[in-house]
């Protein structure tokens, strides 16, 4: 079964909503779309053009299904993909286990990128950064890292083009 990476991105948005409904807690602990961007970046880090295009597409999809200022996710996913691409050139890319610390790092950075971008794009005030916010971001990073493994296996099985 071959699954197009764009269709997978759309499916992952609905997966996020389904997981939030099932989880039923006022806390977001999964971002499967960002996990897909990072997995794709990890396995295609040398192909910058594709990485940029996929990060922008996923960011666009995330922006469509959000209530933030339009473009916040497009820029943050792009920045995230660049950061992960930079790190994946340092780590040994043939060992897929390095993927998980990169997913954790990517989600953690994404939270902070949005925190910087949102007040700029909405021309609003910057919200107060507290310890509990950091805990929420860490929980989201951990949850997404755990989700990255089934997503990696699924991508491998379905030849979803996420993995080279």
């Amino acid at each position: 079964m071959i699954m197009n990476k764009s269709i997978l991105a759309l499916g992952l948005v609905f997966l996020k909503f389904a997981l939030t409904s099932l989880w039923s807690m006022p806390l977001n602990i999964f971002d499967p779309l960002l996990a897909a961007v990072i997995i794709y970046t990890f396995f295609h880090s040398l192909d910058t053009k594709d990485v940029v295009a996929y990060a922008l597409f996923c960011g666009f999809v995330a922006d469509i299904f959000s209530l933030n200022s339009f473009g916040a996710y497009m820029i943050s996913y792009l920045a995230c993909a660049f950061s992960v691409s930079l790190f994946s050139r340092i780590v040994y890319r043939q060992n897929w286990l390095f993927l998980f610390p990169l997913v954790f790092l990517g989600v953690f950075l994404n939270g902070h990128f949005i925190l910087i971008l949102e007040p700029i794009l909405s021309r609003g005030a910057s919200p107060h950064y507290g310890g509990l916010f950091l805990l929420r971001i860490l929980a989201e990073s951990l949850g997404t890292t755990l989700l990255a493994y089934p997503l990696y296996l699924f991508s491998k099985r379905c030849a979803s083009q996420l993995i080279a």
């Binding site: 469509i64 959000s66 792009l78 310890g131 929420r136």
Partner: protein
């Protein structure tokens, strides 16, 4: 040249993309398109909601049994309270007619189902199955029987998105029922609600009930927001703040009422 040509082109391309994103983020038409996308995705969301409800119903069957027993006990206690309240309400009505005051709860609401939830740290929101075709407008207040939920921020034809009360950008004029002191309730990045702009010598206490004051006319007066859980002093020392326990548990809201007029 400081950069090789390819790198320069790539740099310029990225710069253009970021510039375009910044430009489009301030265009209202982009948000209209987003609302249209929300309408298109209403059917998948409805299917998804149905499936997740079924999964939850099966998964929490055991818990439901014990909850049922607990709720029966609570219902008995509430029935007794209700009788007392009915008595008070009749007395209140009699006194009101004596004073010739009009009834304050004169707003019209329409019910809507929650078909999607996103609790990200920056802007948590709910997707509702009704839009402008059901006379819903932008900035309409949203509530449940227990209290205030938030306000409509994006309206499509057949769906709408509501920003929640714990959003850092949302401000609700509020009132302490016990002391009649007014303040402003807004959310924080960690998902809590805070009552701000209280006097330094404020008498606010843990357990005080906070309701909407109706000051800026966008929220009807007297809707329950929550109870005070913690009282603190602002870092400047000029005033107090209170952390609230919202009356509505936003994560488990399934049906809401939108104030349409």
């Amino acid at each position: 040249m400081f950069f090789p040509k390819r790198k320069l082109i790539a740099f310029l391309f990225l710069f253009c993309i970021i510039f375009l994103v910044f430009f489009f983020s301030s265009q209202p038409s982009v948000y209209t398109i987003r609302a249209a996308f929300s309408d298109i995705s209403k059917i998948p969301f409805l299917i998804l909601t149905g499936i997740t409800h079924e999964i939850r119903a099966v998964a929490f069957f055991h818990r439901s049994y014990w909850n049922n027993l607990k709720l029966r006990e609570e219902t008995d206690a509430l029935k007794a309270q209700l009788l007392k309240l009915e008595e008070n309400s009749l007395e209140n009505g009699r006194l009101r007619s004596l004073l010739e005051l009009k009834s304050r709860s004169s707003f019209k609401t329409t019910a809507a189902f929650v078909i999607g939830k996103d609790f990200n740290s920056f802007r948590p929101y709910l997707i509702l199955d009704k839009g402008s075709s059901s006379t819903i407008k932008k900035y309409d207040p949203v509530l449940t029987r227990s209290g205030l939920v938030g306000k409509v921020l994006e309206v499509g034809r057949y769906s709408s998105k509501i920003v929640l009360i714990n959003d850092p950008d949302l401000s609700v004029p509020a009132l302490n029922v016990r002391t009649r002191e007014q303040g402003l309730v807004s959310g924080t990045l960690d998902g809590r609600c805070k009552l701000r702009f209280l006097d330094a010598d404020s008498d606010i206490k843990e357990g005080d009930l906070i309701v909407t004051s109706g000051l800026n006319m966008s929220y009807p007066e007297g809707i329950v927001i929550g109870k005070v859980r913690l009282v603190g002093t602002e870092s400047s020392g000029l005033g107090k703040f209170a952390v609230l326990e919202p009356a509505v548990r936003v994560s488990s809201v399934e049906v809401v009422l939108i104030v349409v007029s």
